[in-house]
Amino acid sequence: MINRAFSFCLTLTLLLVSVLANAQQQDTEKGALNEFFRSNDKIYVIVGVLVIIFLGIVLFLINLDRKISKLEQRDKK
């Protein structure tokens, strides 16, 4: 049940992301944030990439941690 709810939320978020991406396509050239990511030979893009990968690994670890906690709780009963 939880998995189904989770995948539903994920799909919804990903759909929203694509909508947002389309909406912003016109002004990727301007804006302080875009200028920041383009500065210094675009090194900050890769900083962002690493932060995303790291957060992904962390979310995976947190998920695993909670799953093991749940099993431990069930084991105690």
Partner: protein
């Protein structure tokens, strides 16, 4: 939630390290160029490995004094996580060496000795699989683990410092003494040590908790 604070600390420190590691100004020296930033990611892998192998050898010693099988589980889990971080450290070091030393696997003493040290721990993990009797496995691998640790220190710390090596910290190159590292880099390096070590401890506790569930008859 309160007992998870150190995990949150690890995450925050590492996000800081990733962002600051790429953004701060570093001195550009010789062939290293910008690759000196690898210091914030390559060296902590070894700190994690040493932490894990130390936990492992302490638990092996405790196993041999009381023959408590829990200690064997702690020791083997720590050795597994330690070997994992060792491989990561070796891989990042090899990549770094490709562009600064002129070869991925060079005949540099630091690299060769470290490879041997990691292989010894690989042998420890293989040895464990090969023995089916739990008590025999625990005893033999505990003794092996102590020998492995006794070799780890001279192989990775002492020999590379006695001979000439391209790696920092050898006889002819600057080491990690307080004067050798730029002050700005230390502001990232030390949080990196703490953050990565906490992350490795987190992974280690996950492995131990999984083993506890798997081997219920030992953990009663």
């Amino acid at each position: 939630m309160a007992r998870h604070w150190w995990k949150a600390l690890a995450i925050l420190l590492l996000i800081y390290v990733i962002i600051a590691g790429f953004t701060i100004k570093i001195p550009i020296i010789g062939t290293n160029g910008q690759s000196s930033r690898g210091l914030f990611f390559h060296v902590p892998m070894w700190i994690c490995m040493y932490t894990m192998f130390t936990i492992s050898v302490v638990n092996s010693l405790l196993y041999l004094s009381k023959y408590d099988l829990k200690r064997d589980v702690y020791a083997s889990s720590a050795a597994r996580v330690g070997a994992f971080f060792g491989v990561l450290g070796f891989a990042t070091g090899s990549l770094w060496a490709t562009y600064t030393w002129g070869g991925t696997l060079t005949d540099d003493p630091k690299q060769i000795c470290t490879a041997i040290a990691i292989l010894i721990y690989m042998a420890y993990l293989v040895l464990r699989i090969s023995i089916h009797d739990i008590d025999k496995r625990a005893r033999i691998s505990a003794v092996f683990n102590i020998f492995a640790f006794a070799l780890l220190i001279p192989l990775t710390y002492i020999i590379p410092r006695m001979v000439d090596s391209l790696h920092p910290g050898s006889a002819s190159t600057p080491g990690f003494a307080s004067k050798d590292t730029d002050g700005g880099m230390k502001l990232v390096l030390y949080p990196a040590f703490i953050g990565w070590t906490l992350l490795s401890v987190w992974i280690y506790t996950l492995l131990v908790r999984y083993k506890k569930l798997e081997l219920k008859n030992i953990f009663k």
